[in-house]
Amino acid sequence: MEFGMRLGKQLGPGDVVCLEGELGAGKTVLTVGIAKGLGIKTGVTSPTFTIINEYPGEIPLYHIDLYRLEDGDEFYYIGGEDLLYGQGVSVVEWASRAEGFLPEDCLWVSLKRLDESEDFRLIELTVTEKRRDLLERVSKSEDTGY
């Protein structure tokens, strides 16, 4: 949650965060953090059923879960592309289903539970060279090990 907030504070319009991690790895919790970092007041819930949840704010947040989609075509036909390249921040779970639609400079975040622990997660953040500055800003804002 704290990492999500730190990340959320550094994100801007058009940024796309792709989340990877097993069930219960904390993808929704991380998204709650990102929403808080963006200053969004509304409560964040899982979009697995709704596919897309939109949260209005100064920078809107689009929380997308592609688990229930078959392929990229379905993503296109729900207008997903217009969201990803729009004015908000997108958090995408199961992003591999929309391969070929994602912007080149997505951030990839992978979440892993450490030793079945409830409280610790290994978080890996991968960015393209172009977004290296963002990685640095996020890590500078970090104080505790996560």
Binding site: G72, Y76, Y77, G79, E81, D82, Q87, G100, P103
Partner: protein, 238 residues
């Protein structure tokens, strides 16, 4: 013959009323993409300010695509709703034709480019010949590099316009040098009046379809088609 034209294929939302003699009203707004909120009030404004009752409209012209998926859906849904209720026809005009028509009597080649993301553009090549234009290259969704290769094979000057220009201007300038020109701001984005004029010409030729059969033209291949193409050829045109 009075026509109501709309174009919501990009960030721009535009509506116009035109008859056989003149353009009566046009509205263009290019500020945030909120077509679902903006389009109907814009239509109301152009009708009201041209003193036109919606019942006087003989056909709806709609920019049919390619373009933003959501934008095209809003345009198509609006056109279908109005045309169905009024019992009139829809004339779909390809977005790229409308853009090229912003530059009438242009010398050299006209090349509208719409940003299709990931370095791809929706594009076509046009040339004016007296009263009208013809296509040198059909509507394509291709990589910018491929378009520039195609243009390099031709010797003429090229005028670029559309929302792909701000994204790719530097690359185009670098690759084509002085041969490339860019349309001025008053003409470089979608205008409903261009769609209206082309639709009137199409109606004279007897074109147009009923509300039910009109569909947007996405210029995009399905995943299955893309995978097949990946094995056979790199990109495709329509």
């Amino acid at each position: 013959m009075k026509i109501l034209a709309i174009d919501t294929s990009s960030m721009v939302a535009s509506a116009a009323v035109m008859d056989g003699q003149k353009l009566l009203a046009e509205y263009i707004v290019n500020h945030k993409k909120t077509h679902s909120e903006q389009l109907m009030p814009i239509i109301e404004k152009v009708l009201e300010s041209s003193g036109t009752s919606i019942r006087e409209i003989d056909a709806i012209a709609a920019a049919s695509g390619p373009g933003s998926f959501t934008g095209l859906r809003i345009g198509a849904a609006t056109a279908k709703g109005l045309a169905h209720a009024l019992g009139i026809k829809i004339v779909g005009v390809p977005t790229l034709d409308g853009l090229a028509f912003n530059l009438p009597h242009c010398q050299g080649i006209i090349c509208p480019i719409m940003d299709a993301r990931r370095n791809q553009v929706y594009t076509a090549l046009y040339k004016w010949d007296r009263g009208g234009f013809y296509k040198l290259m059909p509507h394509c969704a291709i990589a910018l590099s491929e378009l520039l290769e195609e243009i390099k094979r031709r010797e003429e000057r090229v005028v670029f316009l559309g929302d792909g220009v701000p994204v790719h201007r530097e690359t185009i300038r670098k690759e084509l040098g002085d041969r490339a020109d860019f349309a001025p701001k008053n003409a470089d984005r979608q205008r409903a009046s261009s769609i209206a004029e082309l639709a009137l010409q199409a109606l004279e030729r007897g074109e147009g379809q009923d509300a039910e059969s009109f569909v947007p033209f996405y210029l995009r291949k399905s995943q299955a088609e893309r995978e097949y193409d990946r094995k056979t050829k790199p990109e495709g045109c329509l």
